[in-house]
Each structure stands twice: as C-alpha cells, then as structure tokens.
C-alpha cells in the first residue's frame, strides 16, 4: 500500500499532511508507505491513494483513489476519509 501526499510546492503543507497521515494510519492500525511531493511530480508517481487539499485534488486526475481534504491539518478527517480505501 502506497500513499502519496501532495501540495503546490511539495515542501511545507504536504509534509505536514504526511506526518498527519502517518499518525492516522498508525491509529487505524494499517501499514503503508507514505511520502510527499509537488503536483507535477505526483502525476508521474504510482500510488494507491493520493491525498491533498480539496481545491487541488478537484483538479487532479489520475488512476487510483483520490482524497481531497477540507481541513489539511485535521487528523480525524484524514482518518475518516482514508478508512474508506484501506
């Protein structure tokens, strides 16, 4: 299982989300490889689940499960939305 978190620059926001995603999957008791990157690179990386802020993910088209977050710092929202795909 591979989860890719993304944001515009691939530096700050996606990194914070990655830390939260790791926290969320730990709480859910799931093992997964989580990494973060920028939008351009994300298009060429294969993953099972793609996560990012909702406004970005609405325009992100790629095969796989796409998760858009309303509140990018909410671990509970990440948990709730990820649970559907795990």
């Amino acid at each position: 299982m591979k989860i890719l978190v993304m944001c515009g620059n691939g530096l700050g926001s996606s990194f914070m989300m990655e830390l939260n995603v790791k926290k969320a999957i730990k709480e859910l008791g799931v093992e997964a490889e989580v990494s973060h990157t920028d939008l351009t690179t994300a298009k060429s990386i294969e993953a099972d689940i793609y996560i990012g802020a909702k406004d970005i993910m609405d325009n992100f088209k790629k095969e796989g499960n796409i998760v858009g977050l309303e509140n990018i710092i909410s671990v509970s929202e990440i948990k709730e939305k990820l649970a559907k795909f795990l």
């Binding site: 939008l39 351009t40 406004d55």
Partner: protein
C-alpha cells in the same frame, strides 16, 4: 587527520547535514534500512541544491543581459531557492550549522518561555539561516561567533514570527492550537493591520463567487514556467531580435531561445526544490519528535497554505492584488534609484494569498484587497533594498522574495554599518524578549506586539 575532520568533513555542508540526519535517525531508533536511506537522501538533497543553482544562474545571467540592454536598468527576479542554492558555494557550512542550532534554540525558547511555537516550515528555516549567514558575514562577523549569534537569532525569529501573528491567526482559523510558521509574517501583519483600519470585517470575501480556475497556479512548476516564459518574451521583444541572436543565442531564433531559457529557469527551481525536499525530509521529523518530547503543549507553526482553506476566495483576491501591486512597483522602483524587482508568481501567489486571508479576517473584502495590495508593494521594495546587502554572494541576479527576509536582512545590515558590536547587542536583546515577556503576570499578554 584533524584537518580532514575539521575542513573536509565538518567543513563540507553536505556531509555535516548528513551527519545530523544520521544522529536524528539514531535518536529516533529507526531501522538500519531507514537510517541508511535517510542519511544518504539528506546528503543527496544538499548536493542537488548545488546542481540546480548552476542551471538557475545560467538562465538568470542571460535574462539579466537582455533586461539591461532593453531597459538600461538592472532587473532582478526574487527567488529564495536561487539565492540559497548560489550561497551554498560560499556559506554552505555556516548556513547548515545555523539552521540546525537555530532549531535547537527554538526548542529551548519554547521549553522555557510561554511562547510554545515550534517552527516546522523547514525550507524557510533553511532560507533564513542562509540570509543570516550572508548578512553577518558582510558585517565582518565570522566563524564560531557567526554560528552562535546566527542560531540565536534564527531560533528567536522562529518563535517570535508565529507569536506576533497569533492573534490574527486565531481570527483566521478560530483556534489557538496551531500557528503560522512562515517568514512572510511582516507582510501578513501589515495586511492584517491595514485590513483592520481600512476594512469592514462583516463583509467577508467568502460571500462572493469567484471562479476557482486559478488553482492550477498552485502547481509551482506550471506557474514558474508560465511566468518566466511571459517575462522572457516581453523582455526579449524589447531587447530585440538582432541583439539576442548576435550576442546570446548564437544565431538561433530569439523567441525560441527565450522560451528555452525560461524553461531552464523553471527547471533549475524544480531541481532545487527537489533538493530542499530531500534535505528537510529527515531533519524536520527529528526536530518535531524532539520538540514533542521536550516541550509540553508545543504549538506547531505551519506553512502558509495551511490558512488557505479558511478563506479560498481571499486566496485568489490576495494573489491578484498583490501581483498588481508588484507590476505597479516595476515603475515605482527606479524612481527611488532601486533595481527593478520583476514580480514573480510564486511569492505573490503564496504570500499575496496569505496576506489576503489575513486582510479578510480583520477587514473583510476591502481588507483583503487593500491589505494584499500593500503587501505586494512591500514585497517589491523590501527585496530591492535588500539586494545590495547580499553582495557577499558575488551574484546580483536574484534576491529573497518574502517579507521577513527583507525586514531582517535590512535591519541587520544597517545595524552592521554602525558596528558589529551593535549587531551582537541587538541579537542578544531580541533573544531576551520571549524570556522577559514570560516573566510578566497574566493580563500583560498584549505586549507581544
């Protein structure tokens, strides 16, 4: 042998920062595989920075030549990544040391004062470390003194920047749990103040319908390539076909040449960003891990897009009006004898948008518009005034974009003109501020300004 350790190992920033990552990973008791890959990736990240710098510089030089010929004045593209990448050649070790010790200072201040902010935006920590080492070395401060003073200053800024914004961040997010950790904070503070004075909080930007089509600009590579192409085209039209084809492109068509140069710049930034990403990927979790253990009730200070979802319309409005102010500034800057700062989409998008969000929080629609406009003027003038102070880097084609780099750099640079002792005294005084404010009894909280 000692020489090998001191000069070749500790004097090599890539190896130095790799060693810190190694220690961080060991402290966290990671698997052997994670320790190996994490350490190697950190070293690679640093070396990638330098590789990207070469690409950026080459493209910027041709831009500079064209701009100078076309308008008879120096044109500068503010780009943090470019400055830092270039600076690694002269101040790499100092920057790496200040960054790492600055993070430790941040933890110490958060531990012992009421300011519990842990500044987690790693790339901005790196950029600020670079700016501080550049300005201190112009001031004639070097070696151990520079590293100690620089880290104290960086650690203090990492706490004070989120702290001074917190009252407004709370208005934006509705919670005191998180803070803004972004070195554009003076610009946002300005926007929030302007919004408060000139705006009307009750009519929020979020009541208007705005097309969401501009969100593709959040993809840095796209917006970078797009703006650079437009800029190169405009400048090359003014410089003329003949000039470019005879002096720069070696005969190939001037428009095609401009396009490839613009894309090369975007590519350079992409490479540097990839380097920064690898560089901070191991450092920041270690920093956060230690902070979480040592500092009770630590408040994470996060990157600026964190506040975007709280006011998506203000994001678009903020970007537009900041950018418009940047364009107007092109004509204003020469009147003050300053270099022309070519407005880049990246600082105006990320910082302008954040300024819009804060302006909206204090002054609604009008606050967002006027606040981000003033912000746009600020991030045009600050980098221009800062530019000559970065001369130590031996490269004048680029400067820092975000507001705090300008404010800190200009202040330090001017203090240094009086005497290096004044710089030392000011840094120590500033570092005492969070401690002094923490002694005060409750009720005196508003003193943070």
């Amino acid at each position: 042998m000692l020489n090998v350790i001191m000069t070749d190992i500790l004097g090599n920033p890539a190896i130095l920062i790799g060693l810190f990552a190694l220690v961080g990973l060991l402290i966290q008791k990671k698997d052997v595989s994670e320790i190996i890959s994490g350490t190697l990736k950190t070293v690679m990240g640093f070396i990638i920075l330098g590789a990207g710098a070469g690409v950026i510089v080459k493209s910027l030089e041709s831009f500079g030549v064209m701009f100078d010929f076309a308008f008879g004045i120096q044109g500068v593209i503010p780009n943090n990544e470019a400055v830092v990448a270039v600076a690694q050649k002269t101040l790499g070790t100092e920057t790496a040391m200040i960054m790492l010790l600055g993070m430790i200072t941040n933890i110490i201040i958060a531990r012992y004062t009421k300011f519990k902010y842990i500044f987690l935006t790693g790339h901005h920590t790196l950029f600020m470390a670079c700016l501080i080492s550049a300005i201190l070395s112009v001031s004639g401060i070097s070696g151990v003194t520079m590293v100690v003073l620089g880290s104290v200053l960086l650690g203090t800024l990492m706490v004070l920047s989120p702290a001074m914004m917190q009252k407004f961040t709370e208005e934006v997010t509705g919670t005191d749990e998180i803070a803004l950790g972004h070195f554009g904070s003076f610009g946002y503070l300005l926007s929030a103040w302007v919004g408060k004075i000139a705006g009307d909080k009750s009519s929020s930007t979020e009541t208007i319908k705005v097309p969401k089509k501009l969100s593709f600009l959040r993809d840095t590579s796209v917006s970078m390539a797009l703006t650079m192409t437009l800029l190169y085209f405009i400048v090359s039209l003014f410089a003329g076909k003949e000039f470019i084809e005879t002096t720069l492109s070696g005969g190939s068509n001037f428009m095609v040449y401009s396009f490839t140069q613009a894309i090369e710049f975007a590519v350079g930034v992409y490479i540097v960003l990839a380097g920064v990403r690898m560089l901070i990927a191991e450092i920041v979790p270690a920093f956060k891990g230690i902070a979480d253990k040592v500092v009770p009730n630590a408040k994470p200070a996060l990157d600026c897009p964190t506040v975007f979802p709280f006011a998506p319309n203000a994001v678009i409005i903020g970007f537009l009006f900041s950018f418009i102010a940047g364009v107007i500034s092109i004509f204003l800057l020469p009147l003050f004898g300053l270099s022309v700062i070519v407005p880049g989409l990246i600082p105006h998008f990320f910082c302008g948008a954040t300024a819009g969000v804060y302006g909206n929080a204090t002054g609604g629609k009008r606050g967002a518009i006027i606040g981000s406009f003033i912000h746009g003027i600020a991030i045009s003038f600050l980098p221009a005034i800062l530019l000559p102070m970065l001369s130590i880097l031996g490269f004048s084609g680029t400067t820092f974009g975000d507001a705090d780099f300008g404010v800190v750099g200009i202040t330090l640079g001017n203090l240094a003109r009086i005497s290096p002792m004044v710089v030392i005294a000011s840094i120590i005084t500033l570092a005492c501020v969070p401690f002094i404010l923490s002694i005060k009894k409750p009720g005196a909280e508003a003193v943070t300004k």
